[in-house]
């Protein structure tokens, strides 16, 4: 939908979607060169919440970095914990007991549902609807209570250890999760789909807006719901199976249209898929210890290690370089939103300001994960 733009020098003005703007959900600044209400050039400016995670990784020992992982993407913190635990277990060759793997999958999937609910609330807030935010927060508070019982914190979890998880889940957690899934399943059609998804104003607002082609996703390295919304059937849990994911059968929602509506539908279906995984995991939950034996002083042998994990926003990669010392020599975090946002400049050209914000909302940005 790119409109022929005449770049008259006196007409064009630069608008700062500044660090403090209700639609950026954090401190992302986008320098928009505008002609009237059409965007001529959009250039995201990052770094307003860069918090030196990689430098801190090099200074502390392996275990000290676990709290940092949760502060990068606080909406899906458990997946970041899982990624960091996986790469160090690969490097040091630590075995994880079966029950711990199942607990990890259950908590990560619960956290994914909470992250999608908050994305849904923030996306609707960008489009002007304020009430869905409150409904989504109702359900999210239920998940946060469940996870708080097990992990101890509401948002920034530090639950996983190298070789297992901190503490075991009890029966009340299991019955609570099943009740939550029953409750959310009963609310999804009425509260979420009838009120919002089938709402003609919303459909008009995000249908055919922000078209991203599959080739664009590949060239910019966009993964997760953004890629699956453009027809790419790629999910780390299926293509590069880790932990106990191969034992569950769940399918990957892929929509070929590539517009904001497709990305919206991908995430809504992913909520149902996550619920399916949790139910299967709860049924097959084995008994046993939750913490394998891990050496107190971790000294993994030198080499280049890489682990990929599927977060709510896409592929999270940990590139770890060890030189045999007790702290990591170099850790690079390949954050999914960093690449997802890099295609914003190219797609947002020629769009209206209102459509560009709808498109940015459909990318599901968490700014501290971009700036690390």
């Amino acid at each position: 939908m790119s409109v022929p733009l005449h770049l008259r020098s006196d007409e064009v003005f630069v608008l700062n979607l500044g660090p403090q703007h209700p639609a950026t959900h954090g401190v992302l600044r986008v320098k928009l060169t505008m002609d009237g209400e059409y965007i001529v050039k959009a250039e995201p400016v990052l770094g307003y919440i860069h918090r030196m995670h990689e430098k801190m990784a090099e200074d502390g020992i392996f275990a000290q970095f676990m709290p940092n992982t949760a502060r990068m993407d606080y909406l899906h913190a458990l997946a970041f914990n899982h990624g960091w635990a996986l790469v160090v277990e690969k490097a040091a060759g630590i075995e994880v007991p079966e029950r711990a793997e199942y607990i990890r999958v259950i908590t990560v999937e619960l956290n994914r549902i909470a992250s999608h609910l908050l994305w849904w609330a923030a996306f609707l807030l960008d489009l002007g609807g304020f009430t869905p935010l409150l409904y989504a927060f109702d359900d999210r508070e239920k998940i946060i209570d469940l996870l708080e019982r097990v992990t101890g914190s509401r948002l920034t979890y530090c639950y996983m250890r190298f070789g297992g998880v901190l503490n075991d889940i009890d029966d009340e957690f299991i019955t609570g999760t099943r009740d939550f899934i029953k409750r959310l399943r009963s609310r999804l059609p009425r509260q979420y789909h009838d009120l919002v998804t089938h709402n003609i104003i919303l459909i008009k607002r995000i249908k055919d807006i922000g078209f991203v082609s599959a080739e664009q996703c590949r060239r910019y390295g966009a993964t997760g719901p953004v890629a699956r919304g453009s027809g790419i059937n790629y999910d780390v849990r299926k293509n590069e199976p880790y932990s106990v994911y191969p034992e569950f059968d769940f399918d990957i929602p892929v929509f070929p249209e590539g517009d904001s509506m497709a990305r919206y539908m991908v995430r809504m279906h992913e909520i149902e898929q996550s619920m399916r995984i949790i139910e299967q995991a709860l049924d097959k939950l084995p008994a046993g210890p939750v913490m394998g034996k891990a050496p107190r002083q971790l000294k993994p042998d030198a080499g280049y290690y890489y682990s990929a994990v599927e977060t709510a926003r896409g592929l999270l990669g940990h590139r770890l370089v060890c030189d045999g010392d007790k702290n990591p020599y170099k850790l690079k975090l390949r954050s999914p939103t960093f690449s997802n946002l890099s295609l914003f400049g190219e797609v947002a050209e020629g769009m209206l300001l209102a459509d560009a914000l709808a498109f940015m909302g459909s990318l599901d940005l968490v700014i501290p994960e971009i700036d690390r």
Binding site: L15, G128, F130
Partner: protein, 330 residues
């Protein structure tokens, strides 16, 4: 209608009190209504069930520092909020609250109300342009194009009502609709032109929502896109006046709709007409304004304008023709 000074003073005070209380307590109704819709309580700590909340807001807004930023057009910046408030207040003069409660039965009161409504639109334009803020300029451009687009279908639907009652005076229109709901313009059962009136009622209601910049048409003060729209640079009472102006516009819109379509102060069963029926109808309509705002997301500016130019205006003209034909036939 004797023109004694006491009567004028009484009505002046009455209108000021009605407008002031409405402006404050509509804010309270909105926050309580939004709370109920969103399954939360809404303000309930300040006084009994939050009744003192609007007063607390008012006192705070009054006592805040009025910032006039540099690079701002001084005269226009100060007049814009006042200009937003005056038309809404003055249009209360012409509204017939009941048979004998009306400030002044002005001859062409329908035209007066629409003239004042367009002055209100000027205030938004001045406010946005004078504050020199890029977001405010975009928002004022949007507000003017939106109000312009939705005034035309509104006027055309009003012509259909005037055709029916034969007079441009609100009091006459209301008097013609007395005696039970089947006399109201919306249903108008006798001599056959009940077909088209409810269409014009729906068009009129959509246009009044768009005219007062209320969601889903709040393109002017689009919080999530344009920071705070044309009100971005206004601090304490400037912002307060704009908010009161907006709420009063809603009240005037609701009064106009009830007088034109829902039979003014007439009781549905035609037994006890009085001002209380008028107030009940107004507050039902105002609650639907609030209800709509908290359920629907915002439309996009060009789809909004297309809705008006390509859909509402042709429909209202067709409706006008059909009504005229029906009146001719019966």
């Amino acid at each position: 209608m004797e023109t004694s000074v006491w009567r004028a003073l009484l009505y002046l005070v009455g209108i000021m009190v009605f407008a002031g209380l409405n402006a404050a307590y509509l804010g309270w109704c909105e926050r309580k209504g939004a709370g109920r819709i969103q399954r939360r309580i809404g303000p309930c700590e300040v006084g009994y069930a939050g009744l003192l909340q609007p007063i607390a807001d008012g006192v705070k807004l009054l006592s805040k520092q009025l910032l006039v930023p540099r690079g701002v057009d001084h005269i226009l910046f100060r007049t814009a909020p006042v200009l937003a408030m005056i038309p809404a207040m003055t249009s209360m003069v012409a509204i017939p609250f009941s048979a004998n409660i009306q400030a002044r039965a002005i001859e062409l009161s329908v035209l007066l109300l629409f003239a004042l409504a367009s002055i209100g639109m000027m205030a938004v334009l001045l406010g946005g342009w004078a504050s020199g803020n890029k977001y405010a300029i975009i928002s004022s451009a949007r507000a003017v194009s939106q109000n312009l687009a939705y005034e035309i279908p509104m006027l055309v639907t009003v012509i259909t009502v005037v055709l029916l009652t034969g007079s441009l005076e609100l009091r006459e229109i209301a008097l013609k609709q007395q005696g039970g709901f089947w006399h109201w313009n919306v249903f108008r059962l006798e001599n056959g032109h009940f077909l088209t009136m409810w269409i014009s009622f729906i068009i009129f209601f959509i246009c009044s929502v768009a005219e007062t910049n209320r969601a889903p048409f709040d393109m002017a003060e689009a919080e999530s896109e344009l920071v705070a729209g044309y009100m971005t640079e206004y601090s304490s009472m400037g912002f307060g006046l704009f908010m009161m102006g907006e709420y009063l516009n809603i009240v005037v819109g609701a009064c106009l709709t009830t007088t034109l379509f829902l039979g003014g102060w007439d009781c549905p069963l035609g037994l006890t007409p009085g001002v209380w029926w008028f107030l009940i109808k107004i507050y039902i309509l105002i609650f639907t304004f609030i209800w709509i705002r908290w359920t629907y997301p915002r439309t996009q500016i060009y789809k909004l304008l297309n809705l008006s130019w390509k859909f509402l205006i042709p429909f209202s003209f067709a409706n006008l023709l059909i009504t005229a034909a029906l009146i001719k036939v019966f």
